[in-house]
């Protein structure tokens, strides 16, 4: 996994700390051109992985990527499924059966509802696999080395104790798409515990990690202790605590934690993208320097060196 991953919240008016900003973003990214332009700015800054929900508009972005194979030859997408509102709104309007009818391929549904193969209605794993296929269609021909389950589904299943379904997601994604499975979760310590209990080792978990302890249920110390003592591949998200922490301090904190494989961030302006990538690169460098060289430094040398690194 790349060290820096670009997210998509800003493109779809998702802002967890300001409804007002989310509305202005929905105006800014009204057209797909604006999304592509921002992705290109991120690529220029060296970010080649885009983590995105299976929002309908991502299908259009995928078309553009497929149409420009040379330009996007090093580009990866980490799909995150499902786009929850699509299904939540469908369930409110059509009910569970109606929603399945809408999103699953025709023949399967007909056979399910004709009653001839009513047992299929009880085959939840097959239904899930069909839904994964339906969500993955838009990414055909694009590299998707890691496929994620969205936090609302991961944490719902985790709370209900349906760990076997999480396991089935992982198995299917590995088998069918030759990809690693990842879980987005707002409850990393509990999820890791349950996954380990069910025999899944060193899972990929994308979770909130920030100096402010924002959206880290159970507390920041619990997360830090899990990172120190467990085997896990973490993608840290919400590292800026929704803008509550200054970017430099925020990124320095996350870069100094063990077991952080990647940092996921989203931004809509060139200045913010470049600034964040620069900080991540800088503090990752600093971690290496600290572990290898700092031990031989005197306190004064260390402070001097830190001043140089911090500019």
């Amino acid at each position: 996994m790349d060290k820096v991953i670009f997210g998509d919240n800003q493109f779809f008016a998702v802002n967890h700390v300001s409804d007002e900003k989310s509305r202005s973003q929905s105006i800014k990214f009204k057209n797909n051109d604006a999304i592509i332009k921002t992705l290109d700015i991120a690529r220029e800054a060296g970010v080649n992985t885009f983590m995105c929900t299976t929002h309908n508009r991502i299908a259009d972005i995928c078309d553009i990527i497929r149409a420009n194979p040379l330009m996007y030859r090093d580009f990866n997408i980490y799909p995150c499924m499902p786009y929850a509102y699509k299904y939540a709104n469908a369930v409110t309007e059509l009910g569970i059966a109606g929603t399945l009818k809408q999103y699953l391929p025709g023949n399967f549904i007909e056979s399910m509802f004709k009653g001839g193969a009513a047992y299929l209605l009880r085959d939840y794993i097959s239904i899930m696999e069909l839904l994964i296929d339906s969500e993955m269609k838009m990414f055909k021909g694009i590299r998707t080395p890691v496929i994620f389950l969205q936090n609302v589904v991961t944490d719902l299943l985790l709370g209900l104790g349906m760990i076997d379904v999480l396991k089935a997601f992982k198995c299917y994604v590995e088998k069918k798409y030759n990809a690693d499975a990842g879980f987005i979760s707002m409850n990393m310590p509990k999820l890791l515990h349950e996954l380990e209990k069910s025999g899944i080792e060193n899972p990929i978990i994308c979770t909130s990690i920030n100096k402010a302890g924002f959206r880290m249920p159970g507390g920041k110390e619990l997360y830090e202790s899990v990172l120190r003592t467990k085997k896990i591949r973490v993608i840290a998200m919400q590292v800026l605590g929704g803008g509550a922490i200054n970017p430099k301090e925020a990124i320095e904190y996350v870069c100094n934690l063990p077991n952080i494989n990647s940092i996921l961030f989203g931004a809509s302006s060139k200045a913010h993208i470049t600034q964040t990538v620069n900080y991540i690169n800088k503090f990752n460098g600093q971690t290496l320097v600290e572990t290898n060289l700092y031990k031989n430094f005197t306190q004064t040398d260390a402070i001097k060196y830190k001043d140089i690194v911090d500019g």
Partner: protein, 338 residues
């Protein structure tokens, strides 16, 4: 460990089930729903017992509390049955179809000293709690006017018929969506006692309203406007906000931000002259599990805690929700009169 059950496994019920299931002090033992598709999933992947009949579930299981998340018309018989068996009740909002039924349930819960709560989750959003605190601290001085707003895109097509489109079953923007905002006004600013005028608008629905605009006067003489529209697709999800205009300043608050404008600095609160903007990061309630938003988890934590301590809480009681239902009736009656 408290033994818990959930009745109704729709969008809200299934989310409550996961939060209850993850709670360290709760043994989640039973669910009840009419969908065999959903019940079979519980049978297959969990140890939770499944029922198609709530009376049977409440009779067979020795529950400490039950979460009821069915369509509004079922609340009355289900809550009554649970209270009759001395089970503490968390019920989804809106509380009841008629205030007569709601009053009977409130009275019954109080007489039996059972912990009762309604799922008005907005009252557990940190920014609104901070707003309430700032108003009590008189930060913006005497209040001149408030606006309580709620927008979202629930009904944006003319077709489709569910209980939400039936006025007899608690459907309609005023009964369903606006009750969130009315309850929030009641919790944060004051109880509406007089409706000065109501406009109901049907945009896509045939039998119910899709928007309500009403002028309210509260028990503390403060007056303001209620503006709610559930057919506004410029909103990705429900957005609720309160704007309070005072003599010394103004506060605009939603679920993510609180924006405070003061004519003079307030040293006690460490607020500068002019605008101060703070966001939910600072005010989010600490929770042990997170699903969909702190407020959903915090309200269950609060309820479970009250059940464990056998003590009725002061936030989101049946009585408070019953009052909201009464205000909704007053708003709808006023529209008929006008």
């Amino acid at each position: 460990m408290l033994k818990a059950g959930v009745i109704g496994l729709g969008k809200m019920g299934i989310s409550h089930a996961a939060i209850v299931g993850a709670h360290p002090s709760v043994d989640f033992v039973a669910v009840c729903d009419t969908s065999s598709f959903v019940l079979e999933a519980f049978r297959k992947y969990t140890k939770v017992k499944t029922y198609g009949d709530y009376v049977e579930m409440l009779s067979k299981e020795q529950l400490d509390f039950v979460v009821i998340a069915t369509p509004t018309k079922f609340h009355y018989p289900m809550v009554k049955c649970a209270l009759g068996k001395n089970v503490n009740v968390f019920c989804e909002k809106p509380f009841s179809l008629t205030s007569k039924e709601g009053a009977e349930l409130t009275d019954m819960a109080e007489r039996r000293s059972l912990v009762n709560q309604v799922g008005d989750h907005s009252n557990f959003i940190g920014t609104f709690r901070e707003l309430k605190r700032l108003l009590r601290a008189n930060v913006i001085g005497d209040i001149i006017h408030f606006t309580g707003e709620g927008y979202g895109h629930v009904v944006t097509k003319e077709k489709g018929r569910t209980w939400r489109s039936d006025p007899e079953e608690g459907g309609g923007c005023t009964s369903d969506y606006a009750s969130h905002v009315v309850n929030l006004i009641q919790e944060v600013i004051g109880r509406p006692v007089k409706i000065n005028g109501t406009l109901l608008k049907s945009i896509y629905s045939k039998n119910v309203d899709d928007a309500v605009y009403s002028l309210l006067t509260l028990d503390n003489k403060i007056s303001g406007a209620l503006l709610v529209n559930w057919s506004d697709e410029t909103y990705r999800k429900m957005s609720t906000s309160l704007t309070i205009q005072g003599k010394k300043g103004k506060i605009v608050c939603d679920a993510t931000e609180i924006k405070i404008f003061l004519r003079e600095a307030n040293q006690r609160e460490n607020l500068e002259k002019g605008w101060t903007i703070k966001n939910i990061t600072e005010f989010a309630l600490p929770v042990n599990y997170y699903l969909r938003g702190e407020e959903y988890n915090a309200q269950i934590d609060y309820f479970v805690n009250n059940v464990m301590n056998k003590k009725q809480g002061s936030c989101n009681t049946f009585e408070q929700a019953l009052y909201t239902d009464k205000v909704i009736e007053m708003i709808l009656d006023k529209a008929k009169q006008d």
